[in-house]
Symmetry: C2
């Protein structure tokens, strides 16, 4: 079973930590920021997929992750959009080219992105221009799932208000995001309820951590502050566990189906009609 | 007694909250972000000074604050530099023009910026390109004091490492900042020690809050999380109280003297030599 995820957001939004938390292992090495010379130079986005084998509810899964370090980091961030959009469309082009071959290549791997996790900076205000632009431009090509990065920055009240304003912006600017579609005819009541609940949590508030502490005899992944311990898997603290279950279990197939049956087909039609 | 402060940093870095915390009252109204239409449009920086009368150790102080909402918020952030630098130099031009008048204007107010608090986004990595560029370009014109914004985002270990990397970047890129200068001859040992301690805290870690909670009978300014309470005035939690004392008490005069005797004179010489 395969699944491909892309993570996008400014540097330092906890994307690498999130991936390691998701995979429950140090998949992404921490970038070395100790050399002043390289840390701050404008970089072109390096988009390199990394595949990890993980197990989810007894099922082996080959999870491919494409990290996009530093989107929005530069003084002028125009080029970042094209790097990412270009990468996504390149994967569609590869499939399109393969479809048209007489002699098929059985070894061809499908690297299309099934979900793009967009890490929103937790300002406490609303979406910024760059967030709106990015999600609008890419929402037609890939399933976008908006995430509140480092959500332990926000108090419960600030988080609830921030989520609400982000969703109002998404509606106002008609930003296409993955919205847990329900099939009125096919889906049973439990599925409808589950989808409604997930949709009500958007954007998902994430806390990531590779550090563990023993609390009441349990090993708990968390961030330790002088004033307390923020727990990754505690639903009172953030939505990480619900997001993980959704991505790697309950909604994995739907995200893949939408990518193949709708987003890829849309791209193919537009490209072949030119 | 007068003092003028400027705050610079991305939107949502807690600048307005910091000002209100500093003045111990709601000086800056919270921007209304509930209208999606205005929240995300690229704005030119609106630089409007606001004067508040506060009392510091029995001394009345007219504190003028220039907020610069949203530096670094746009997709392309080049213009922000010029807005801020232009404002600072305009205040020098006003003094220069006044100096050359035959008939003095006794009502002229001196709006020169005595300290610029630069709010660094707490990424946990190092300075970003925009931070380096900004502080390098403005450091020759104004006393820059680097701040770790929303420092409750970082664990104690992350904060210590982040501070260290920021100071290494500042040294590497030769970024001029206010560095608590000591006069080897004039200053007594206590002053030398105080300055060394303040310099060792750079960049100052700030937590801001207008909310109060009663803890053990004391009223405490803090941020309340499900996992604990981060306190503004607790030196184990952040450097806010030391920064406040430094700015409004112990180093206020030095910041004004440097602005007038060194930075303004430098500008005047460069301008008149053209
Ligand atoms: N407050 C907070 N900090 C986090 C979180 N996740 C990671 N960090 C810290 O933020 C810093 C940057 O994380 P990193 O994963 O390297 O970010 P990336 O640049 O987006 O990949 C590190 O110091 C992390 O320990 C989180 O959920 N909350
Ligand atoms: N985590 C954290 N949040 C803060 C802090 N100070 C302010 N905030 C919150 O951050 C959000 C933006 O603050 P604001 O002062 O409006 O930021 P500004 O846009 O820079 O003026 C609000 O939800 C504040 O309550 C802080 O020290 N730490």
């Amino acid at each position: 079973l395969h699944f491909t995820l892309m993570v996008v957001g400014a540097s330092g939004m906890g994307k690498s930590t999130f991936i390691n938390t998701l995979c429950e292992s140090s998949v992404f090495p921490k970038t070395d920021y100790s050399d002043p010379q390289k840390a701050a130079m404008p970089k072109t986005l390096s988009l390199t997929p990394l595949t990890v084998e993980i197990e989810e509810e007894g099922q082996k899964l080959a999870l491919t992750i494409v990290d996009t370090p530093g989107f929005g980091d530069n003084i002028n961030n125009e080029s970042g959009f094209y790097d990412i959009l270009g990468y996504i469309e390149q994967q569609y082009d590869d499939i399109l080219a393969e479809e048209s071959r007489i002699k098929r290549n059985p070894k061809l791997s499908d690297n299309r992105i099934h979900a793009l996790l967009y890490f929103i900076t937790p300002t406490g205000h609303a979406l910024r221009e760059i967030d709106i632009e990015f999600m609008k431009r890419l929402g037609a090509r890939v399933n976008i799932i908006p995430i509140v990065a480092k959500s332990d920055t926000l108090s419960p009240k600030e988080l609830a208000e921030f989520k609400q304003r982000v969703m109002e912006d998404i509606a106002f600017y008609k930003i296409p995001i993955y919205n847990f579609p329900i099939d009125e005819e096919d889906d049973d009541e439990e599925t409808v309820e589950e989808n409604n609940e997930l949709r009500s949590l958007l954007p998902f508030a994430v806390i990531g951590s590779e550090e563990e502490v023993v609390i009441n005899g349990r090993r708990v992944r968390c961030r330790q502050y002088p004033w307390g311990v923020a727990e990754v898997d505690n639903v009172q603290h953030c939505d990480f566990s619900k997001l993980r279950y959704m991505l790697l279990s309950s909604h994995l197939q739907d995200l893949k189906d939408i990518t193949h049956d709708i987003l890829y087909e849309q791209y193919r039609t537009e490209k072949l009609s030119k």
